[in-house]
């Protein structure tokens, strides 16, 4: 049994706690911590978690705890990674590690020094649709990769107050797509060009961010990619990918709450996509935890490592620079 301490009892903390408690064989939740103690207590009671703390240092101090799931606010991730590594805990950390490359590097250094496992929460790699597309690429079914397309549209924009602290759309939302681009292509992004605008909510523009974008990626292997983002698709969460190469094409469609069609005098009607990430990625949240537990138990490398957490932040920074300067930006310009 891998004994977890869950740090942070917000939306994503609750999901990981419940999955670790009930759906990930070989794992159990020994403690949960949140500065909002009441929130942590409520989850602890529901999931019969024995220990609840306001201060996560109590988790780090508990010698019976093997691993932590860091689900606190983004600005605390890097620091807790360092402390957890020093305490000898294996670490599952939600994305992004940080928006500051120096802090990321310090965190990765601490992990390396401590010799603990680190996995970053890019859960979409574990989605059955995307994992299967990756498998087709890996098997050579797509041949040499020529084109990659990602559509990633949220059902509704976050509050402007959140936008202000989010690091901007590219680091908050598109970061998942940058990870997906690396994952599907098996290659590194070298250059980024962004066309973007404020088409959904003027308040987002006033906060200095964009809400709609098309991003061109040039990969080291010669392939070219495009990501389209919107903060608001009225029909729900739109999460599709397509890879195209010398051998063929593979594409993932959206998931829906049911597979029915209703046909009347107006036409054929089917369900719109699942509403948002909680619905769409339920399975992948479980699968990523199973993979992390397996990596710790078998002493293997976790499937989404520290550099997988760092590189999408670099791409996000290049994207922002490209947008501001209206020119293609090489990743080597960032660091």
């Amino acid at each position: 049994m891998l004994r977890f301490g869950v740090i942070g009892a917000g939306r994503i903390g609750k999901i990981h706690a419940e999955n670790l408690a009930n759906r990930v064989p070989g794992a159990e939740v020994a403690a949960i911590a949140d500065v909002n103690l009441e929130m942590a207590q409520e989850t602890a009671a529901r999931l019969r978690i024995p220990a609840v703390y306001a201060d996560y240092h109590q988790i780090l101090a508990d010698p019976n705890i093997d691993a932590v799931a860091i689900c606190s606010s983004t600005d605390t991730h890097a620091h807790i990674v360092v402390e957890a590594a020093q305490a000898g805990k294996h670490i599952f950390c939600e994305k992004p590690i940080d928006h500051d490359l120096a802090k990321i590097d310090a965190a990765l250094e601490a992990v390396k020094k401590a010799g603990v496992k680190l996995q970053i929460g890019f859960n979409r790699r574990f989605d059955p649709n995307f994992a299967h597309v990756r498998e087709l690429v890996s098997q050579g079914k797509v041949g040499d990769l020529h084109l990659l397309r990602i559509t990633s549209r949220d059902p509704a924009p976050p509050p402007v107050s959140y936008v202000k602290v989010s690091g901007g759309m590219f680091l908050d939302m598109t970061i998942h797509d940058f990870d997906m681009a690396r994952f599907l292509s098996g290659s590194e992004v070298e250059e980024v060009f962004v066309a973007a605008g404020v088409l959904v909510d003027p308040g987002i523009g006033e906060a200095g961010d964009v809400d709609t974008a098309i991003i061109t990626l040039k990969f080291a292997n010669g392939a070219i990619g495009t990501i389209d983002n919107s903060r608001k698709a009225v029909y729900g969460y739109d999460q599709r990918v397509e890879v195209f190469g010398s051998g063929g094409m593979a594409a993932a469609a959206n998931n829906t709450p049911h597979n029915d069609v209703y046909v009347d005098a107006e036409g054929v009607h089917a369900a719109k996509p699942l509403y948002f990430f909680l619905e769409r990625y339920m399975e992948s949240f479980i699968a990523e935890m199973k993979a992390f537990v397996a990596a710790v138990q078998n002493d293997t490398t976790p499937p989404v490592g520290g550099m997988d957490g760092r590189i999408p932040v670099v791409i996000g920074m290049a994207a922002k620079k490209s947008y501001l300067e209206n020119r293609p930006v090489k990743l080597s310009e960032i660091g």
Copy 2:
């Protein structure tokens, strides 16, 4: 908390135990029993179920247990329903209650007398695809029902040894489709005609059963239905329904492990259906238990009651008679 005793720790018993333990809020598993004690112990250990018995009577004798999930072999269902009712336990019973109408009637009488809740395990009603088709019918979107079509094909036939004790395909496999026909149409079957044969496995024929059938149903509301069954679809579990009426048509397609297409010089390729009922109906097994728990907690009528368990057995008997006599058989001929 509704405290359950699970009777039977075979394939379906394990599923219900795990769902009650981990996925049905408001329920917990207090005990599990199986004549194969070791099998019960293994499940109890995995799910941390405190009590394990070889004899289910110990569950019935425990005053702290509120409800039982009867997952033992079919020939024991009716008898355990009677005993559980007499012990004052609410009852979730796997289908079919029995193959003998007299025993079914005795069981239903005992339930009625005891005033306990009874729900039959026709889980497909809780499948999101089928539930949504039913909803469209209920909302009047299909108008007056004219035609109903059910395709129900298994990925592989059961062993001939099982076929011999199963009651035959109509009572073992098609019984789910008879329930679905009643559920979707909101009407009762009045007459059945069966064309059937042994096209999959001659051993099934030697055991006195069929493995392939087309069944015509006439409903009280004037609608007509057709069910097609096969014991072996090489591409997996094929579970589709269609309703057609004066207002339109609604149809449920199969579920697949992913929603990708791969396109090469040969054509477009997509995933075949999920392999069998464990994969396909995972969600509906959880949903039916949630509904049962809610019915007990709120003291309402469970959504699949005793007569819903009895009537499909009658239809199955009429189907067998129709096949043997090659003529349409009215349900009123059966009882």
Copy 3:
């Protein structure tokens, strides 16, 4: 150049005339005849057909005409087939040849005696969807055939006045599905059972016919089939088939005017099927004529011969008898 005389300038006559004139290489229309001379003249003018007659005998008398397309009313088909055969013309005859088996047999006898080619207008065999399903069956991709399903629903019922002279739904509408069943299965129907009713239009019932049916077919090769018919699908012409066997399944979906989806807050919306046979079977009307012209030019057997015209009439008669007597009827009972 195969020189055609088109007999009958109604709806289907116009289609064949236009296809022969413009879309079937190697064919031309030398004359058109209709008792309604004005109607024939209008078509002749549009298509630049040189000769127009009120009396089709003038076509039969023209030694420069090689073949006739019989598109007149059903009650005249058998008689004209005989006359055309005697005149040495190759014959394309719309379905059905007749509703009377003796008349059909006389017509087939005349054709045989004259040694001319005869093709019956079961155009659906030439539809790309159905032809491809047949090809999969022929190639063994479906393995041994176990189940066959045909859905055939019209967008709107014919006028009751037409119903009265149509021979009934089974001979007028389902006859195409009986042909499709034989075509797809490559086997002969031996027994029929019909469940039917009047659910669309009470006037059809008053005229002694039905408008909704489910028909069970038993084939000589052991397979079982089901056809569902409705005279009114509010969403348009519903024409689907499915074959299932030991090797897999093949299914044809409907055709639509475009392949778009529109997704809004309500769901995904796509086009309903093409409205009726003129839209859906445009290609197959051309392809059947090309096949007929090729058979004449190459002196080969036309792909839909005289017995292919006779047998579906027998099945239709058995279907009617089954409905009236509520029992399975063997084709051997009919003749």
Copy 4:
């Protein structure tokens, strides 16, 4: 009857000649000309076109000819437009008018001066899929346009010899997509950024062209678009579009030779897209001619006018410049 002279009897000339002769009511082909007289004669014989010339000036000199369809090689288009306009003929001209803006402007000026109708052969606007997407945009169903996506991939690259005279991929192939972008968005492109490479055929690179590209478009109305191109999709012609806006999304899928699925133990298999433009755009070639004939007959503005021929050439030039200079290029830089 609108009497046409078809200039050029190559692949596209043959298509237009056949459509005008047989499938466009109100039109007829009075003459056909090609420097390869034999090729023109062969088509004339097949379609019974009365006059055949090696020199198209004979068409222009014939006072009984009302309109010309210019289907000769690209480098002759602009010049023939001028001559045809001066001869008072209405003009249907294949795309592009020319690769030289001065020549295009001279041609448009001659058309204007002569007062004849001019329609450019951007046939895809008449494709039922794309026309319906445009209709949804026009009706406001998509709301304010935010994102536009076009996938346009050919089944096989042209010979390198052709590539050398084609003007490059952007003017030869993507030009259709630039037209589609304008058509679907109802807005003008203001800026272009191109990422491209030689991934299909090194010979294309040696000829100074690219074979794979992703093109970002910024529109005057604030929307952003992306086009992805490949000269070689092993699965055939891939022609999809998607528009996304504040009200929803509309997308056009590919067309296939049939709508069947075949399901075996490996999965679900369906037909790949129609092979190339001759198959895919057969209907749109007819529809564009019907629209041109109607515009002449009703003295209305043809639906694809001279500026619709000029602007995509400008976008293509900007695309090439963007690729060469690796920076976004404004159309105002071109002219």
